[in-house]
Symmetry: C2
Subunit: 142 residues, 2 copies
């Protein structure tokens, strides 16, 4: 069986040409059970480890941004040194482990519903993100 067909079709449907590079990146990102959180650097490393061919950094950036634009990825704002991306594009929130720099999905029962009263005239809400920063419970308070 050929996994690629699925991604080829999805890419084509989205108006993105199914190139070798995009298909490879799809396989890495979307052939998995669980949500995947990654930085461009993470992804870049995985590509060079798992693939024989290389994909240039510029292409990785282009592809990730194209996927984000099409709604297949969400970008998560953490401390402003890096961008994190999330294959789970549904509305959900995150824990961020400051010790390990890892993002963890927040389940529905981890947080109550966040309701916003939008008073800003002429503005609509595009997203609501909750970020819960956690760290080890030891007393090493910096």
């Amino acid at each position: 069986m050929n996994f690629n067909t699925e991604f080829v079709n999805k890419l084509r449907i989205s108006g993105l040409r199914p190139t070798k590079q995009r298909i490879k990146i799809c396989e890495i990102l979307f052939n998995r059970e669980k949500t995947f959180h990654f930085t461009i650097n993470d992804l870049s490393k995985m590509i060079s480890e798992k693939l024989n061919e290389k994909i240039s950094l510029a292409t990785i950036y282009n592809t990730i941004h194209a996927f984000k634009k099409k709604g297949y990825l969400k970008e998560i704002s953490i401390n402003s040194d890096k961008s994190y991306f999330d294959t789970n594009t549904s509305i959900h929130h995150h824990f961020y482990d400051e010790d390990t720099n890892q993002l963890i999905d927040c389940n529905e029962d981890d947080i109550n519903e966040v309701k916003i009263n939008n008073n800003l005239t002429g503005k609509k809400i595009n997203s609501v993100e909750v970020l819960i920063k956690v760290a080890s419970d030891n007393q090493n308070q910096n």
Copy 2:
């Protein structure tokens, strides 16, 4: 009346030497009624506009980080291209206007209380931040 005395004392109490540069930055940041949201670049521009003397970028970064460490500023995570700082260090949340790149404080009645059920063993919650991204209500969707 000499505004400086106040900041000189506060700096000294915090274990920070009250230097000319730090006092100037205090005046810009804390001599105001309302919360102030800014980037390093914003602040840097304000300094060169309002002051005769210049303060080097490195000093601005050092000072802002020192103030943050002492709890006089909060850092806010937006899209990862820039760091935003906030003179309001209480627990509160933000609207971010994607048209103007401006942060707006969320009042208590704009949002319900966010309650977290922390299941992560050995981890304690350091912060909970809600960021509500808004944009103009026109149909210019990108």
